[in-house]
């Protein structure tokens, strides 16, 4: 058994049956999937390379200044500080509101809800919601958070934007968390009940820890999604020009005031005609990529550490 691998066996058997002829169809299939991979990779690399090439000059020349400057009509002094700040708050709103709610909803659907028509309907609806175009969430955000809840959000503010993004990623958090919970072997639950644990204890001490790495992966994807969206925030009122708050503005004033995010600033800069903006746009794209990759990497580190601890 241990002397031959599956592949060797497969090759030997295939050779015997096909009398040593070459498996042309198989070879063709293998080549075509390889070609697809190469096309995808080359396109991605070309995109990354051109952006990097266009933007790296601005980043090395301006350095920290590019990260700490605010919006400006002058490409030489414009920076991404306000956009970074806005994106940070979007992420905070997603982490604080969407992720706990989403995970809780997933636990209810997977562990407590009965398998009846109502819950199946809810499940289907959530899946469909995850596929709703983001611009539709923008309209929802405008109506609910900008217009109706004006008193809380201050209208076109980062609070309204944050809530909109939280709602947008909620279905994604629920679906990925539910998948992670479903992947927990049923034997683990049975073993828990077998030694007399209550349902709460089984979920708390066995199911959740087992599912946590999968849940974390889902939450990272949702944060990355929220950090990359521009369209809904245009509707919610992300400023495309210049803005600055009063020096006397309190923390809450700032949260309720005008805002922008990295994708919105990229959108705005990309349509500015004057020289200097294309390079700034590319530099802002690099910043956005770094932010998203950092968020992803942090969560992967978390997940791996957690995975290791659990297995010790």
């Amino acid at each position: 058994m241990g002397l031959t691998t599956t592949k060797q066996t497969q090759q030997a058997v295939a050779a015997r049956i096909q009398r040593g002829g070459t498996d042309w169809k198989g070879l063709l299939f293998q080549l075509s999937v390889l070609a697809s991979l190469v096309v995808a990779l080359v396109l991605l690399l070309v995109l990354l390379w051109t952006v990097f090439w266009d933007g790296i000059g601005t980043l090395t020349e301006r350095g920290l200044d590019f990260l700490t400057s605010g919006t400006s009509g002058n490409p030489d002094t414009a920076g991404v500080w306000q956009a970074l700040y806005g994106s940070f708050w979007i992420a905070v709103f997603v982490v604080v509101f969407a992720i706990p709610t989403g995970i809780a909803a997933a636990i209810h659907l997977e562990e407590y809800a009965r398998d009846n028509w109502l819950n199946r309907l809810i499940n289907t609806t959530i899946r469909n919601l995850a596929g709703v175009p983001s611009i539709v969430y923008g309209i929802l955000g405008f109506t609910v958070f900008v217009e109706i809840l004006d008193g809380i959000t201050g209208g076109r503010s980062v609070i309204a934007g944050g809530f909109t993004m939280a709602v947008l990623v909620l279905p994604i958090v629920i679906i990925t968390s539910a998948e992670a919970l479903r992947a927990v072997p049923y034997a683990i639950r049975e073993a828990g009940y077998g030694v007399g644990a209550s349902q709460w204890e089984v979920i708390r001490h066995h199911v959740l820890p087992y599912a946590l790495p999968g849940i974390l992966t889902g939450t990272v994807l949702s944060i990355a999604r929220a950090l990359g969206e521009a369209a809904p925030l245009i509707l919610v009122g992300a400023v495309t020009g210049f803005f600055a708050s009063s020096k006397d503005a309190s923390f809450t004033d700032e949260l309720q005031g005008p805002f922008t995010t990295l994708p919105n600033i990229i959108y705005d800069w990309a349509r500015q005609p004057q020289a200097g903006w294309p390079e700034n746009t590319a530099a802002a794209i690099i910043v956005l990529l770094v932010v998203v990759l950092t968020a992803n990497a942090t969560a992967i580190v978390f997940r791996n550490r957690y995975d290791k601890k659990r297995h010790q």
Partner: protein, 348 residues
């Protein structure tokens, strides 16, 4: 287990400021939000500006200069478009509206219905440049009638320049010997101010006579042919113009100036038939036919209630304002015209 507990703790700590923010704002806002909408603008030292994306860079530069001298004022400049800007302005949501054309009658009516009075200030000029590929040797100059024959509502389906010859002759153009070369057209879409201005300046004059002759409807007179490549992004339009040796397209003059080596501007013949190249001089003097004025509209209620708005426009009316027009790539008003704008503001 431990890291999970820590995660929950972090989440709880992060939630506190957000909850406080939500809690506080509830009380602050209730009083001002109702007052703000009826009075037509906030009086809190915030200047809210929206409107034309064309004028946005000018006002942004002015706002930055103003902000540097007045750090205690909050200010925001947005650019959804002239039409959207007036909608916000006449709903009392903004203090100042940027515009790349004068306010339309129905927009003025909406403002009047809402009790919003305003002052109109002309701040600069933008020209439309009709362009082709630098490789195009055949086309140097066109008149408005020829432009109408190439992109007007009756040109739908023309896929060579020569196809427009017959129509050009019919509408009285001097240019009825256009080359038999493929015609690919790229321009801004209908939502763009540049589209509106192009139609208004280049299409409508000829179209109006066609309406009188009964050849087209009044609606058609306010549009181009629908079958051209449209994009809201100027860079995409230039790529389209570069993309074919015998292309045709139009962009704002500021954008043409910034990307002049990628496009060849087609001179436009004025009333007397002389060809005028788009340059800073011909646009400022009014010689070049395809140019438009840029405005800011200031709400009188905002001026009265919000000293920051008054101070901001005062700053706009200094040299900083006219310098910003040039820095943003537009054409400055002549000294007399600028003085007329300043006088109009001082008269308020």
């Amino acid at each position: 287990m431990r890291s999970q507990r820590r995660f929950l703790k972090i989440a709880a700590v992060a939630a506190i400021p957000a909850l406080i923010a939500v809690g506080c704002s509830d009380d602050d806002e209730e009083g001002t939000s109702t007052g703000g909408t009826s009075a037509g603008g906030s009086a809190s030292g915030e200047v809210v500006i929206s409107g034309s994306s064309t004028v946005q860079p000018i006002t942004s530069l002015v706002a930055e200069g103003f902000k540097a001298e007045n750090p205690d004022v909050g200010i925001s400049v947005d650019g959804p478009g002239t039409g959207d800007g007036f909608e916000l302005f006449c709903a009392g949501e903004t203090d100042i509206s940027n515009a790349s054309r004068p306010i339309k009658d129905e927009e003025a009516q909406a403002c009047a219905d809402a009790g919003i009075e305003y002052v109109e200030l002309k701040v600069g000029i933008d020209g439309i440049t009709v362009a082709t590929s630098p490789a195009n040797e055949a086309i140097e100059c066109l008149d408005e009638q020829a432009i109408y024959a190439i992109v007007g509502p009756e040109s739908t389906g023309f896929d060579t320049w020569a196809a427009a010859n017959e129509l050009a002759a019919e509408v009285g153009s001097e240019y009825t010997d256009l080359p038999d070369a493929p015609l690919t057209i790229t321009g801004p879409g209908e939502e763009s101010g540049t589209y509106d201005t192009f139609v208004e300046l280049a299409i409508t004059p000829t179209a109006e006579t066609r309406v009188e002759e009964g050849k087209i409807s009044e609606d058609e007179a306010e549009s181009t042919r629908p079958d051209y490549q449209s994009s809201p992004n100027d860079n995409v339009i230039v790529q389209g113009i570069e993309g074919s040796d015998t292309s045709f397209g139009w962009v704002g003059y500021a954008f043409y100036k910034a990307e002049a080596e990628r496009m060849k501007a087609i001179a436009v013949a004025g009333e007397d038939g002389t060809c005028v190249e788009p340059t800073d001089e011909t646009i400022a003097s009014g010689e070049y036919p395809l140019a438009r004025d840029l405005f800011i509209y200031v709400s009188k209620a905002s001026i009265a209630e919000n000293p920051s708005v008054q101070a901001f426009v005062d700053f706009y009316m200094t040299d900083a304002g006219t310098q910003a027009v040039a820095d943003a790539g537009y054409v400055q008003l002549t000294d007399e015209d600028w003085q007329a704008t300043v006088d109009a503001w001082n008269a308020v």
